[in-house]
């Protein structure tokens, strides 16, 4: 069930994310090696429908500093749809994935009316 109030709240939060990401880009412009540590992380999704995946991919791309590089579709029960996300300004892979999963939690809470299960519980994490 789509929750309109939460959806509006999500759009406002996206606006805040766009502004902070823009500040990141501007700060990196005046940092000597600001653009030198990109990474591509693999992000299994909790989104299931096409609409959720499209909205999440668009949200990631419009945020400065993150970009969807490739989408692998789901082809089975234990093979979730996966995004490959190019991240520019993140300290480590885990930090980047925590931020992205936070965005996904907000989107799914707005789209489904209740928060999804935590990502750690769904996919596990086979290493630290």
């Amino acid at each position: 069930m789509v929750n309109p109030l939460r959806l509006i709240g999500y759009f406002l939060w996206m606006g805040k994310e766009i502004v902070t990401g823009t500040v990141d880009v501007i700060v990196a412009l005046f940092t000597p090696r600001g653009y030198s540590s990109p990474m591509i992380v693999q992000l299994p999704l909790r989104c299931t429908t096409d609409l959720e995946i499209t909205m999440f991919a668009s949200s990631i791309t419009i945020t400065p500093g993150t970009l969807v590089a490739a989408i692998a579709a789901s082809d089975g029960a234990d093979d979730p749809p996966t995004l490959f996300v190019h991240v520019l300004f993140a300290g480590s892979e885990d930090e980047a994935m925590t931020d992205l999963y936070d965005m996904e939690r907000r989107l799914l809470t707005a789209m489904r009316g209740k928060p999804p299960r935590p990502a750690l519980e769904v996919f596990g994490r086979d290493e630290a």
Partner: protein
């Protein structure tokens, strides 16, 4: 009152154009095509919408309220954000498919190495040889277009 509105219009227009310039300079400094597509979103996500807001307020001050202008402004504002995001997705995917090289300090690169197999991040346990320019694993993203050698030259 008019002065305040003028200052607001000037702020919107100037910060919008400065954000486009920021994107241009960031593209100048970024290392590979994916980073350039990445730093394009300040221009389309914040800069051009600010120009639209400034333009709409200018028109509002000049000609009064009009439902048509409000509609066009809102649709333009939303379509800039949504459309440019989808365009960036398409272009980044095409860039990877066409095999343009990823910057060699892209670590970790999960398109080339799965988690736990990256020799740069996860230690020397991995068996792959590090390349100078790692190209995304085409098996993950789709068919590789036929044609010349994608890794450069």
């Amino acid at each position: 009152m008019t002065t305040a509105i003028d200052v607001f219009i000037a702020f919107c227009v100037l910060s919008g154009s400065l954000l486009v310039l920021t994107s241009a300079l960031a593209m100048f400094r970024a290392k590979d095509a994916l980073s350039r597509i990445n730093v394009f979103s300040p221009a389309t996500g914040l800069g051009m919408p600010l120009v639209i807001v400034g333009c709409y307020v200018y028109l509002l001050q000049r000609e009064g309220f009009s439902l048509y202008h409000l509609f066009i402004g809102l649709v333009g504002f939303a379509s800039l954000i949504i459309v440019s995001s989808i365009a960036s997705n398409t272009l980044s995917r095409a860039t990877l498919l066409s095999g343009s090289p990823v910057h060699r300090y892209t670590r970790p690169n999960r398109l080339a190495y799965a988690r736990g197999e990256d020799p740069h991040v996860d230690g020397p346990a991995a068996m792959h040889e590090p390349d100078e320019a790692q190209v995304g694993d085409e098996a993950q993203v789709g068919d590789e277009p036929r044609g010349d050698d994608p890794a450069g030259n």
